[in-house]
């Protein structure tokens, strides 16, 4: 008997005069307490049931227009065809999401729209990866091979995720205060130009900060030789900074409100600002940072149901709609799929499909330094 039925029956007994008011309230309280105490374990059991029951697949993404596109173009047709419901969740950041996954039961989270190769390696390192049966994902053939290779390298030739989109973290600048020529001439050094003291923003994320500090000290970000110079450059950057921003929404607000004039920024977010009419320029400086996003299947998930959903999400119609929504090029190979102008005009789009002009994090290198560098950056960020 479920809790609602139990309470209805209790109310009926009270109305019939079988129990007095005090007894009714006492039993009601006890039922409430029982529900509270049993709720946690019952929820856990439900999670196990969900994991085993492919009637439902949970997808977690960044929310907003991207989720809307997924819902309309992928989830609904997928549910109509398979009868499997897609539970659509969101997260604010990859780190926050990983903390939630780490605290969860196997099968509670199924597919996530994760950032980059770095996160793929982290999930694999935490034993959260799976092995996809690629025969169940025929649309994977349409995906740029270069984007798949780093994943395969990490998981022994197999895939635990399908690449989905890519973009760059370049430099955004307010054209009222910085000309395009000036930005191009200064490149990464624009972010540490003392003329803009108090008007510079920076993403409070250790990898991006260190990447740009490496460029500013003339080093290869994937093979840094002088780390002391990098930390010193980060201190220099901090002294000029108005604020470390923590989300795309905050980045857009700071740029749009002209609280800051220069910052590194995500190509899609700047494109969105430009579409809103803000005179914001965007530059991928030499050695600038590119990244890719993937749809990662987490250990304990119903694999076939997830693979089928991934195939739906890689349908060109879906991937193009999502790309238009989030302003990042899809992982579809332009040599195999006819992409519309709305996609080919996106910042960071590579018409060759080779991505040779873009620079990605070397996951082995960055993961091997993650523990030390993320901690040290946390201190530098606070003035130490």
């Amino acid at each position: 008997m479920d809790q609602t039925k139990r309470l209805e029956r209790l109310l009926e007994r009270y109305r019939n005069g079988d129990i007095d008011r005090r007894g009714f309230l006492g039993l009601l309280g006890a039922a409430g307490l029982g529900a509270g105490l049993a709720g946690g374990p019952m929820a856990l059991m439900a999670r196990h049931a969900r994991a085993a029951d492919p009637a439902q697949v949970r997808f977690d993404g960044w929310g907003g227009v991207v989720s809307e596109a997924f819902r309309e173009y992928a989830f609904q047709p997928y549910t109509e065809k398979t009868g499997i419901e897609v539970v659509d969740g969101t997260f604010g950041g990859a780190d926050e999401y990983l903390a939630r996954v780490k605290a969860s039961q196997p099968g509670e989270f199924n597919i996530a729209h994760l950032s980059g190769v770095f996160d793929y390696a982290r999930y694999h390192g935490l034993d959260l990866s799976t092995t996809l049966n690629e025969d169940n994902i025929p649309n994977l053939d349409l995906v740029i091979t270069t984007l798949q290779e780093p994943f395969r390298k990490i998981t022994g030739g197999n895939l635990s995720a399908v690449p989905y989109d890519y973009g760059t973290t370049g430099i955004a600048y307010n054209r009222k205060h910085v000309s395009d020529d000036e930005a191009k001439a200064q490149g990464a050094d624009l972010l540490v130009n003392p003329d803009f003291k108090g008007k510079i923003g920076g993403w409070g994320e250790w990898k991006t900060r260190i990447w740009y500090a490496a460029l500013q000290t003339g080093q290869d970000p994937n093979n840094i030789q002088d780390m002391d110079a990098v930390w010193e450059k980060l201190r220099e950057h901090r002294a000029l900074l108005l604020k470390y921003w923590n989300s795309g929404a905050e980045l857009m607000s700071l740029l749009a409100e002209e609280e800051i004039y220069v910052t590194e920024a995500w190509s899609g977010r700047v494109k969105a600002l430009q579409e809103q009419g803000h005179d914001i320029g965007y530059l991928d400086p030499p050695g600038g940072l590119a990244w890719q996003e993937c749809l990662f299947v987490i250990k304990g998930s119903p694999m076939e149901a997830c693979e089928e959903l991934l195939n739906f999400m890689l349908e060109p119609e879906v991937a193009i709609a999502v790309a238009e929504g989030q302003n990042y090029p899809p992982a579809l190979d332009p040599n195999k799929v006819d992409l519309p102008e709305s996609v080919t005009s996106l910042p960071a789009f590579d018409p060759t499909g080779t991505l040779e002009s873009l620079n990605f994090f070397d996951p082995d290198y960055w993961n091997s330094n993650e523990q030390e560098w993320s901690k040290t950056f946390g201190r530098v960020q606070k003035g130490y």
Binding site: G125, W206, S253, E257, Q371, K375, G378
Partner: protein, 293 residues
């Protein structure tokens, strides 16, 4: 044996029965999770981010000896103290006004005081961006009035963090002081006046001392809440305005170092508990209850 039986016979079980749901809830939802955190603090984080089950004092050694954590802790306590003092100074007058307002106005004023709780704390904090930002209401008004030529940079510093905290904490302070003031027997001030006190002297000698329990309870509450916040410095602070809870957030979420994050959160918990003990020793914890009598 007879003595034990007679003592048991005289033992009143009713308070324990009545308290048992609350005790059970506190045990299950607070004490046991806190014990998990204690256990975690002795574990270690591996290079991949996974937890290593062991017994190590490394995290505790780090948080207790590293000057980085000490400095941020001192900064946290300073910001919390400044916010609390500001709340006390700013909050006393409205609390006094509400307590002495006619009954028909009092209800409305109390509802207005509770109104901010209907809006999310994060939204309330972010609203300052629209007020104090470069394109915000204050700068727009000053520019429109011709008082400034270009916007003033008001956001993202320690002052705005304190402002955000005062905005968040002020209703707690006002409510505590109000409850205390409302409980004061009005005839005491009348007696003081009839014995020759001026209005100010009657306030200083009678009303203020009698409202100290509410002021102290409000201060304790504001300080503890203020010292444990991380949203306000994240939204309204600059690069140098991190508070201790931000370190816990970073350790747990960004660095995925739950053992270190556990040690940090326990340190903050221990410090704030010590503060409550000091308060109890010098003012008596029962003073908090008195303010609600």
């Amino acid at each position: 044996m007879t003595a034990i039986t007679s003592r048991l016979a005289g033992f009143d079980r009713r308070p324990w029965v009545l308290l048992s749901p609350a005790l059970l809830s506190v045990t299950l939802l607070l004490v046991i999770p806190a014990l998990f955190i204690v256990v975690y603090s002795f574990w270690l984080r591996t290079a991949t981010g996974a937890d290593q089950v062991t017994f190590s004092l490394a995290n505790w050694r780090e948080v207790l000896t590293d000057p980085f954590y000490r400095d941020i802790l001192i900064q946290t306590l300073r910001i919390a103290a400044l916010s609390t003092i500001t709340c006390a100074l700013v909050g006393y007058i409205p609390a006094y006004y509400i307590a002495y307002a006619p009954t028909r106005h009092k209800t409305l004023l109390l509802v207005l005081l509770m109104l901010p709780f209907w809006v999310s704390y994060i939204i309330r904090t972010m609203s300052w961006i629209n007020i104090l930002g470069v394109s915000g209401a204050v700068n727009s008004a000053l520019l429109w009035a011709g008082l400034i030529d270009e916007p003033i940079q008001m956001l993202y510093n320690e002052a705005t963090v304190i402002l955000g905290l005062v905005h968040f904490l002020l209703p707690f302070m006002i409510l505590n002081i109000y409850v205390s003031l409302d409980g004061i027997d009005r005839s005491l001030t009348d007696a003081a006046r009839s014995l020759g006190c001026t209005g100010w002297q009657a306030f200083k000698e009678v009303t203020l001392p009698l409202s100290v329990p509410g002021l102290a309870a409000g201060s304790l509450l504001c300080f503890v809440l203020g010292a444990g916040t991380y949203i306000t410095p994240m939204v309204l602070g600059g690069p140098g305005d991190a508070m201790f809870a931000n370190l816990v957030f970073e350790a747990i979420v960004t660095q995925l170092n739950w053992p270190l994050g556990s040690a940090l959160s326990l340190l903050l918990l221990a410090l704030l508990s010590a503060l409550v003990l000091v308060y109890s020793r010098f003012l008596g914890i029962d003073q908090i209850a008195k303010s609600f009598r």
